[in-house]
């Protein structure tokens, strides 16, 4: 039932990146406007797949979950691969890595751990192959590495060091990157207390939710992390029985991301507290 609610919520949509009333012009719109009087159909720009790619991946993930087939995710994956062959842009590798993250979650939902591991590995390879990584690249790499620990045997502590290094780099390059702050907090949240876990969760999540999802609106670039930061912060307060703060940030989170399932689902834990 919970899984069904989760899937339905994905359709409804959630906190959608930019909160400011901004408008970004798509080059294809201009092309379309300029060529509308022509008799031949307008050419499809090669970057059309990348326009709003974050949402496209998400929708493909939801469609795959509902159909129990990975076709939609595979379709985007192939599109990205073809695009990268034609245009060697790092941002394509980023989105390939992002897509593999969701593909891996999809296979976990299908109880196919081997396929989930393969998909995560593919994503890690894409991201690791990016030369001169920027803050976003490091943040996603750390997130995927952290996610992949469940597939690893043995030296989890050593992998954890790699993750810390990547997060450190992400924050060093851009300390005001929401996603870098979120991934740092997330890693600290899931680190056992005896290894220093939990101490910095609050600090970094409070910073994450104070930051814009994007500094300048851009539909080609990532905007995830705000909703996830609220969810984790509320969970953290619940775990530590800081009920007033949990409620305060629940209300704030819902106000900012009104349709968020992952924030909404925490309401039941706050009732009567």
């Amino acid at each position: 039932m919970i899984r069904l609610l989760f899937i339905i919520s994905l359709f409804v949509g959630s906190c959608n990146g930019n909160t400011s009333n901004t408008k970004q012009i798509d080059n294809s719109q201009i092309t379309e406007h300029q060529t509308q009087s022509m008799s031949t159909p307008p050419p499809i720009p090669p970057d059309s797949l990348l326009l709003g790619i974050q949402n496209k991946v998400y929708q493909a993930f939801v469609a795959s979950l509902l159909s129990h087939k990975s076709d939609e995710l595979d379709k985007i994956s192939k599109g990205l691969s073809d695009l990268y062959k034609a245009k060697n842009q790092n941002i394509i590798l980023y989105w390939q890595g992002y897509l593999q993250y969701y593909a891996s979650i999809y296979y976990l939902q299908q109880n196919n751990k081997k396929a989930a591991e393969n998909e995560a590995d593919k994503g890690l390879n894409w991201l690791k192959s990016i030369k001169n990584k920027n803050s976003e690249d490091y943040a996603l790499l750390a997130l995927l590495q952290s996610f992949s620990i469940q597939f690893r045997t043995g030296d989890a502590m050593l992998i954890s060091q790699e993750i810390n290094k990547d997060i450190e780099n992400a924050l060093a390059i851009d300390s005001s990157n929401l996603r870098a702050n979120y991934v740092f907090a997330s890693n600290n949240f899931y680190t056992p207390k005896k290894y220093g876990g939990g101490k910095l969760v609050e600090k970094y999540l409070l910073k994450a939710i104070s930051l814009p999802t994007q500094k300048t609106p851009n539909q080609y670039l990532p905007s995830w992390g705000k909703e996830e930061s609220y969810e984790m912060l509320i969970k953290y307060y619940i775990q530590n029985k800081k009920w007033d703060l949990a409620k305060q940030y629940y209300e704030k989170g819902i106000k900012e991301c009104p349709k968020s399932y992952i924030i909404n689902q925490l309401a039941s834990q706050l009732v009567g507290k």
Partner: protein, 716 residues
């Protein structure tokens, strides 16, 4: 009126026509590559923006010429362009420049050595503790590398068949000569003088040591101390042979200190292991250390590491036909201080070292008193030219003074207390000034190149020399890489009882190395050739002037299960010595040198490891006869002309380690036990002879010994 109407019409027409205008442009980087998804907007209306396409092109409708175009993208400096009519006439080309490094990024990057991509292994504190052979010692942790060819069970590192005298250990950029405890006259020492709790990173270079460091013609170990303290902690340790205390304390937000002290004693250890350590009478050690790290400002960091040790050793020793007690004692203090100044695109560092030691050694008719003083200073600047290229340059001054006041056997084969000896006082020093240049450049996504040059500025009678190196690494894919590196290197031998001089040692090296790493599997292969010249310091009367070593290494690591790891390594070494113009097999000529381990590490249960090291015996020069010397009443041995032709029995050793870790809130307890040479194998270390050398009896490396202890950690 008509004119007014015409003007108004033209004005309105121009506005109307202007409102239809679309600004077209191309955004690229300084390498002429198009930038995709760059943000393009006007200063007057940042809300209305567009992005570049995959070819870097953009189109943005504009309604006024009196505006400023702003172009930005992650990792690049923002570009602002005032619009004018020319902006519309042609397609605008906007070149974005990289934003360079942020200060925090410079600090993180600069802390790692410029040569880290070419190191054989990189270890953290945790890696050292998890290493099955390390016994918690940073230098013993690298002894299990396939490239490590230490054969005397010492912690003193040697790589790829070279002597320990050619390999250097650096701590925070300062060379630490004699980095082991309980050093005997032949420089052998069981453990290093480093406390793992202060270690941040450790890099080992099996050959082609980066020329940012000098005075090495073999491998190099580069250890740096912690730059951040994860938490405050008080630790106590009690073992069969020591008590220890270690305090890690944050002082301010960006400063911390680490204080430690150990007291080592031999009584219980000797009692428990009596049959195996029959020759050992006593050993002891007291040490104290202080590591202080401070971030003095946003751009300035300071670190000071200070260490004092006093130690003694008393054991049965053999020398030719004489067997007796040898005793040694040593006091040592060293201080290493580092100041780093971080700039926007580089870091300036000043490293200083002061090391003073006094050592006494007595055995038979040998009485040796040695005083050592070393001072070191270096100024270094590392510059990040671009994201793909960095360069480092610097000047180093290394001064060493050795004063010997010795009674030396008149005849090397007559070392009993009553045998004749003579007084020799020697005061030697070496001023070594060198300048260097090193650069690392990522040519493409797959090709990486480094080069280094290091030249001395001769003082006194020194010869001038130039060390140089070049290396290439090809990243085949995410899992595999191949590197080829070579160079010419220079170093000075360290004076000792037998060789009271700083000999210039040279080497030419070339190495081809392959690495495959995928998920839980690590495979490494290497092949190398090393040509060493210069008078090798040995404890024999031989004059070794050259060593040629060809070798091949293969190692494999794999997690068989979540907690179960297997490691296998084998090394082949073919070594030829040049002695007085003739060539002979080297003492490290091994058809195989196997290192294997099976490790089970389950944090909820226990950790254990089974370790095996096996190789053929080392080679030595046989004694084929003797003549009686009436002056000394000792027989004078006659060595075979066929040098290094007598091989000791094969070396085989199994060790077992077991530990259990408990956590109760902020308290942690670790119990550990190790059994070294669990099968009690008699591995030949050397031969002692009867009075006329007609029969020889081997003596052995460590037999089976038990060691156990407990550590208590309190976090607060």
């Amino acid at each position: 009126m008509k004119a007014i109407l015409l003007t108004a019409f033209l004005f309105l027409f121009s506005i109307f026509s202007f409102s239809q205008t679309v600004l077209k442009g191309l955004v690229k980087d300084s390498r002429d590559e198009p930038i995709f998804a760059a943000n393009v907007y006007l200063k007057s209306n940042a809300q209305l923006s567009t992005s570049t396409d995959l070819d870097g092109k953009f189109q943005l409708p504009i309604s006024s010429m009196n505006d400023t175009l702003i172009v930005s993208f992650v990792g690049y400096k923002i570009k602002k362009i005032s619009l004018n009519k020319r902006s519309l006439s042609d397609s605008l080309i906007v070149v974005l420049k990289g934003s360079g490094y942020s200060l925090a990024e410079v600090i993180i990057t600069a802390r790692n050595p410029i040569s880290e991509d070419f190191s054989a292994v990189q270890l953290t504190k945790l890696d050292i503790y998890l290493n099955p052979t390390s016994q918690g010692d940073p230098l013993k942790a690298i002894s299990f590398l396939p490239s490590s060819t230490t054969t005397d069970e010492s912690a003193n590192p040697s790589f790829r068949g070279s002597s320990i005298d050619r390999t250097r250990v650096f701590l925070n950029g300062v060379p630490i000569y004699q980095p082991v405890r309980n050093t005997q006259i032949n420089k052998v020492g069981g453990f290093s003088i480093f406390n793992t709790e202060v270690v941040g990173n450790e890099y080992a270079y099996a050959s082609n040591p980066p020329l940012i460091y000098g005075n090495t013609s073999s491998g190099l170990v580069d250890i740096t101390t912690l730059t951040e303290l994860p938490h405050n902690q008080l630790q106590f340790s009690a073992t069969l042979a020591s008590f220890g205390i270690f305090l890690s304390q944050k002082i301010k937000q960006n400063s911390f200190t680490q204080l430690f002290s150990n007291y080592q004693f031999s009584g219980p250890f000797i009692q428990v292991n009596k049959p195996s350590v029959a020759n050992l009478n006593e050993f002891g050690m007291k040490d104290a250390g202080l590591n202080y790290h401070a971030k003095l400002s946003k751009r300035v960091e300071f670190n000071s590491f200070n260490y004092f040790i006093t130690e003694n050793y008393d054991a049965g020793t053999e020398a030719y036909t004489y067997v007796g007690q040898s005793t040694s004692s040593k006091n040592r203090f060293f201080s290493i201080n580092n100041l780093m100044y971080y700039m926007n695109n580089g870091v300036l560092s000043i490293n200083t070292g002061f090391d003073k030691a006094k050592k006494d050694f007595l055995f038979g008719n040998i009485i040796s008193h040695k005083k050592i003083l070393q001072t070191y200073a270096s100024a270094n600047y590392k510059h990040f030219v671009s994201n793909s290229m960095s360069i480092q340059t610097g000047l180093t001054y290394d001064y060493q003074s050795n004063i010997f006041d010795d009674l030396i056997p008149l005849y090397f084969y007559a070392q009993s207390p009553s045998s004749p000896n003579y007084q020799q006082t020697t005061d030697i020093n070496n001023h070594n000034i060198e300048a260097y240049l090193y650069s690392n450049w990522n040519l493409t996504d797959q090709w990486n190149v480094f080069y280094g040059l290091r030249s001395n500025i001769p003082t006194n009678t020194q010869r001038s020399y130039l060390s140089s190196q070049l290396g290439l690494r090809y990243t085949i894919n995410n899992d595999q890489s191949l590197s080829l590196s070579g160079g010419k290197y220079n170093s000075y031998s360290l004076p000792d009882f037998y060789h009271k001089q700083f000999n210039l040692l040279k080497s030419n090296q070339i190495a081809l190395e392959y690495t495959y790493k995928h998920k839980n599997t690590l495979l490494k292969a290497a092949s190398f050739y090393i040509d060493e010249t210069g008078q090798e310091p040995t404890d024999t009367p031989l004059n070794i002037s050259g060593i040629n070593t060809f070798g091949a290494e293969l190692s494999y690591e794999r997690y068989l299960h979540r907690y179960l790891k297997i490691t296998l390594a084998n090394t082949y070494l073919n070594q030829i010595l040049t002695v007085d113009g003739g060539t002979y097999n080297g003492d490290k000529k091994f058809d195989f040198f196997i290192k294997a381990s099976l490790n089970y590490t389950n944090p909820k249960l226990f950790s254990s490891s089974l370790i095996y090291i096996g190789r053929p015996g080392s080679y030595d020069t046989p004694i084929i006869g003797s003549t009686f010397d009436t002056k000394t009443s000792f027989y004078n041995p006659t060595f075979s002309n066929d040098l290094y032709s007598q091989q000791a029995g094969s070396y085989n050793r199994f060790d077992v380690n077991l530990s259990r870790h408990f956590e109760f809130n902020k308290t942690a307890i670790t119990c550990f036990m190790s059994v070294n040479n669990v099968l009690n194998t008699q591995n030949e270390s050397g031969i002692s002879y009867n009075t006329n050398y007609s029969t020889g009896n081997p003596y052995y490396y460590q037999l089976r010994t038990w060691f156990f202890g407990i550590m208590l950690g309190l976090k607060y």
